[in-house]
Amino acid sequence: MNELSVKHLLGIKYITEADIQLIFKTADHFKEVINRSIKKVPSLRDITISNLFFESSTRTRLSFELAEKRLSADVINFSASASSVNKGETLIDTVNNILSMKVDMVVMRHPNPGAGVFLSKHIKACIINAGDGTHEHPTQALLDCYSIRERLGDVAGKNVVIVGDILHSRVALSNIFALQKLGATVKVCGPKTLLPKYIGNLGVGIETNLRKALQWCDVANMLRVQNERMDISYFPSTREYTQQFGLNKAMLDSLDKEIVVMHPGPINRGVEITSDVADSKQAIILEQVQNGVAIRMAVLYLLASKIERDED
C-alpha cells in the first residue's frame, strides 16, 4: 500500500493502522532530508497551503510552516486575532474567501470540536486538523507514537500512561486512538474531576495513583494542565495537583525500570513535571518536536499527492 485511505486528516479516528504505518515510513525519509545541510525538497512546489489558526499556537504553527517550506509549498498564514472573524464573518465564508485565491490545502486549528469535519463537508480543499477544541490533534498523536517507535523500536505491546488533564485534552484523545491502533495498551491517570466519565468505554484503563501508573508503564505522556479551558475549579490548588500528579526526579529514580517521559508542550515546569525530569535523558520532549516536522512533511506530502490537478 502506498497511499492514504483518506483525503483529509481530520482525526486519528478516521484513519487506519496501515495509514499510520505509511506516514511513519514516509516520515523516516523526510527525517533524513531535514538532517541534510540543505533541508529542502521541491515536491510541493505547485501547492499553496493556508494555515488558519483560530486559536493561539506556537509550536504547531511553526512546525507546520517549516514542514510546508521544507517541501517548497507556498504558504499563507492567517490568525484569528487579526482577521475579519472579529467582524462577524462565518467560518465557511472566511475559508471560501481564502480558497478563492486558489489555495489547495488548509491546515486549521479551531476552538470548536468538529470544526474540521464540518468544513470538509462544505469546501473542496484538503483539510488537515491542527487541533479542534477538545476533540482531536492528529499530527501530535502521530509524532508522539513515531517518537515512541524511534526510542523503543515499536509501539505494539508497549504500556503507555497518559497523565493529567484528560478531560480538556485533544492530545489525549488522539493519542488513545493512535496507540490502540498500533497495538499499545493505554491507561489514563489524573484527578477524577479531569477524567471524562465514559473514558473507560474507549478501552483504556483508569488509574488515580501516579506511582502505580508509572510502575506499570513503559512510557508516560505528561499533559499540561489547561487552565485556559477550565471554567470551574477541578482541583483545589496547583500545589496539590503537583503533589499528587506531578512527576519529579526522585519518583522517576525510585521506579524499577527506566521509563520514557514525553510531554506535548508547552511545559509548565514544576507543575506536571519538574525541570530535572524535563531535561533528563529519559525525556524525549525535544525529539518529539523534531519528529513533528518530519511527520507533518509526510502527512502533507501524502495528502497533496491525492489532490486532483486542474486540467491545464
Binding site: N2, T26, H29, K40, P42, S43, S305
Partner: protein, 179 residues
C-alpha cells in the same frame, strides 16, 4: 507478453568488467571519486562495480552512496499513484568530488534530471558523470547522455527493458519485454 534475452549471465559479466575498466581509465585511484547509486535499481549495479573494482583491480575503499530522487521528480500528482520513496544514504559530502551516477536503465532522462537537483543537497561536485547499464537511446525527453553505457538498446515505447540482478532477481540477465 513475450520476452527476448538481450544479455545472458556471461554477457552481463563481460559488460560489468568493461565498465569497471572504463571507470578505471578515467578515475585511476578513485581518491577523489564517489559512486552514487540511483534508487531503487541502480544500487545493485553500483555495488557490483564497487566490489569488482575492489577485488579484481585492488582499488581500496571506493565511497558509495544511495540517492533517492522521489521528492525531486517532476511527475508528482501527474499519475494516480502516490510516489513512494526509498532510502537515501549518503554519509559523505560531495563538495569538489567527482561524482559518478550509476543507474540500470537510462530512458527518458527525467530521473537523472531529478538526481542532478537532488545531489546539490550534499554539496557542489567538481564533476558529475553518468553510467547506465542500458541506454535506450531514442527515448530521451531531455538532453542527457551517458558517459559510460553497457548496452545501447533501440526499443519502441511499448517495450520494456528489465535488468535482473542475482541478489534481487535470482539471476544476472537483461530482457526486452513486449507488453
Amino acid at each position: 507478453m513475450s520476452q527476448k534475452v538481450l544479455l545472458n549471465t556471461k554477457e552481463v559479466q563481460i559488460t560489468l568488467h568493461r565498465l569497471a575498466c572504463q571507470l578505471l581509465e578515467n578515475h585511476r585511484t578513485f581518491n577523489n571519486t564517489v559512486f552514487i547509486g540511483i534508487q531503487p535499481r541502480g544500487v545493485y549495479l553500483a555495488e557490483r562495480l564497487k566490489s569488482l573494482l575492489e577485488t579484481n583491480y585492488k582499488i581500496k575503499d571506493i565511497r558509495l552512496g544511495y540517492l533517492d530522487i522521489t521528492f525531486y521528480r517532476d511527475d508528482f500528482r501527474r499519475s494516480n499513484k502516490t510516489l513512494e520513496a526509498n532510502k537515501t544514504d549518503i554519509n559523505f559530502i560531495v563538495e569538489n568530488k567527482k561524482v559518478v551516477f550509476i543507474d540500470d536503465v537510462l530512458y527518458t532522462g527525467r530521473s537523472i534530471r531529478a538526481a542532478l537537483t537532488a545531489i546539490q543537497s550534499f554539496g557542489r561536485p567538481s564533476k558529475i558523470e553518468l553510467l547506465a547499464f542500458i541506454d535506450r537511446r531514442f527515448s530521451r525527453h531531455l538532453p542527457i547522455q551517458p558517459d559510460y553505457s553497457g548496452l545501447q538498446v533501440d526499443s519502441i515505447n511499448e517495450e520494456k527493458v528489465k535488468v535482473c540482478w542475482m541478489e534481487n532477481d535470482g539471476e544476472d540477465a537483461v530482457y526486452l519485454i513486449n507488453k
